[in-house]
Symmetry: C2
Subunit: 315 residues, 2 copies
């Protein structure tokens, strides 16, 4: 069986996107390490261009398009960060972008997408609503669809964050990443398996959108019909391609409550002095709620983004 | 004339405190650099132990005490961060600490001081009130006073932040630091003059507590009787020793409004994804309000701290 995503894809993505993404810092945090009695290395994708890892996959996708296809622009559906990322990547290549967004996306994320120059198309906040709107857009414009996660070129881009993390900290015992649609976790898993085979790979998601956990338990994709979580970046359902990678490569998925997410986010702001969004805080919540035993281990976490509306904080 | 503070003092401090302070990261910020058309290197003392550079000076002071003096403990007056820093440094050496705090200090900073194990003594929010309460405390306990800024051993400790910055970025054209009592700016100036003689050194302070600007203009210390600024760490008046260093070593002091400080703080949170407190945002405010021409220069800024009560944000 051919692999959906290989480490060579991730290496190629890293070269392709190098000039357009930040090599984000890896920070440690004494208060968190003291609390957990372990060493935590935080890959700070909140410091990434446009505030989240999503620019990695979007840039890899946009730069991989042949000129003839790129000329018609790109389109996607996204609850926010992927849309902003695709908008920015498209603007840098000088091509148009259309972004289908659920009506209930945060005003903050809507402004970001528009601010990077994309045209927003609003839809109902369901996967069906997103896909129908996107299909109409593509039929009208001829734009190339860049899926937010279920595309090997996107997954490869997202995997470059873990690639950098392992290059900087070569002896991790465990890596945690959030799982929404599974693009970041897929890329993280493939990069980790290649660079550090003994390292465990764990995904974290909110109970209110625990399709990844349910799907890995069931052995097939189990959508959550009505995701209900503060983690606005993790409401999507994993796709056939990300599911194929996750079931082969990931050791475990752990779940946390929204209250744990909010407490972890508050902890990061107050004690670590970094702005992370709820979808990023989910990994810290998993650690702080002891969903993952980490004592004495060297743990890498991908803090996936920091796009938060400062006028609407969850506490 | 003997120098108040030498670079050798700062070098010695760096060795003395190395095991107890973080070598904080230097971050860049694409949005800020694009806005200012320059290169900005942010020395992130908000990521320092207890959330501010103050632990450097306090630790240097506590570790410099002979055992006989240290046994009676240490005492200080502080609007917050120095008190927390001294409390932590004292706890690590196993000696008691007393901290005189103005009654109007933020609840957040009071909790921090108490949390690190110090005994708080409340006073009126004036320099006279602080000093009277401190004198009583010392008379009763025999504690050694560690002044928040006007002491060479404290100034030397604060200078280690700039020492690290220049070690990491050896070709800066300009360094900015906040000025409250002047300890950080003194240490920054002496370290900078030694390591990078051609580099300009500029202090930033709020109009509502512009004693440093007034004093350098007048040629003698000019207190501001009733400081009025959101920058709760910058309300103190510079002292004889810091004034002596500043007038010799600093190229300029620039002033900003509280509105500019709050806007800069919001910018740092929203775009840089880091938590900084108003007293740290003052340097970004000076840059963003064009109080300092920086186009094309390599600029270092000391982001002095990130202790903010998340339940009481200034916007």
């Amino acid at each position: 069986m051919q692999e959906v995503l290989t480490f060579a894809d991730i290496r190629a993505a890293a070269v392709r996107i190098a000039a357009q993404v930040n090599r984000t810092p890896v920070l440690r945090c004494a208060p968190l390490e003291a609390e957990l009695d372990t060493q935590i290395f935080c890959k700070c994708e909140n410091f990434q261009e446009m505030g989240a890892f999503k620019i990695r996959g979007a840039t890899n996708a946009v730069l991989s398009l042949l000129a003839a296809a790129a000329a018609h622009g790109v389109a996607t559906h996204s609850s926010g960060n992927h849309g902003a990322a695709l908008a920015l990547a498209a603007r840098r290549r000088g091509i148009p972008a259309w972004v289908v967004m659920p009506e209930n996306s945060s005003a903050f994320k809507k402004r970001a997408v528009a601010g990077y120059g994309a045209q927003i198309i609003y839809c109902e906040p369901t996967m069906q609503g997103r896909e129908a709107a996107l299909a109409r857009c593509v039929a009208e414009t001829g734009a190339a669809v860049v899926h937010p996660f279920d595309d090997p070129v996107v997954m490869a881009g997202q995997g470059t964050a873990a690639l950098e993390l392992h290059e900087e900290i070569p002896d991790l015992d465990l890596v945690l990443a959030p799982v929404g649609g599974g693009g970041l976790l897929s890329g993280t898993a493939v990069a980790t398996r290649a660079l550090r085979p003994a390292c465990r790979i764990i995904g974290a998601e909110p109970f209110g959108a625990d399709d990844a956990w349910r799907s890995l338990q069931a052995g097939h994709i189990e959508p959550v019909a009505h995701p209900d979580t503060v983690c606005d970046g993790l409401r999507a359902t994993i796709g056939p391609l990300t599911f194929a990678v996750l079931r082969m490569q990931v050791d475990d998925i752990v779940r946390v409550t929204d209250a744990e997410v909010i407490a972890a986010m508050h902890f990061a702001w107050e004690r670590m002095k970094i702005i992370i969004e709820p979808s990023a805080a989910v990994v810290l919540a998993a650690l702080r709620a002891a969903r993952v035993p980490v004592k004495g281990l060297r743990v890498g976490v991908i803090l996936s983004g920091g796009n938060v509306d400062l006028d609407h904080l969850p506490w």
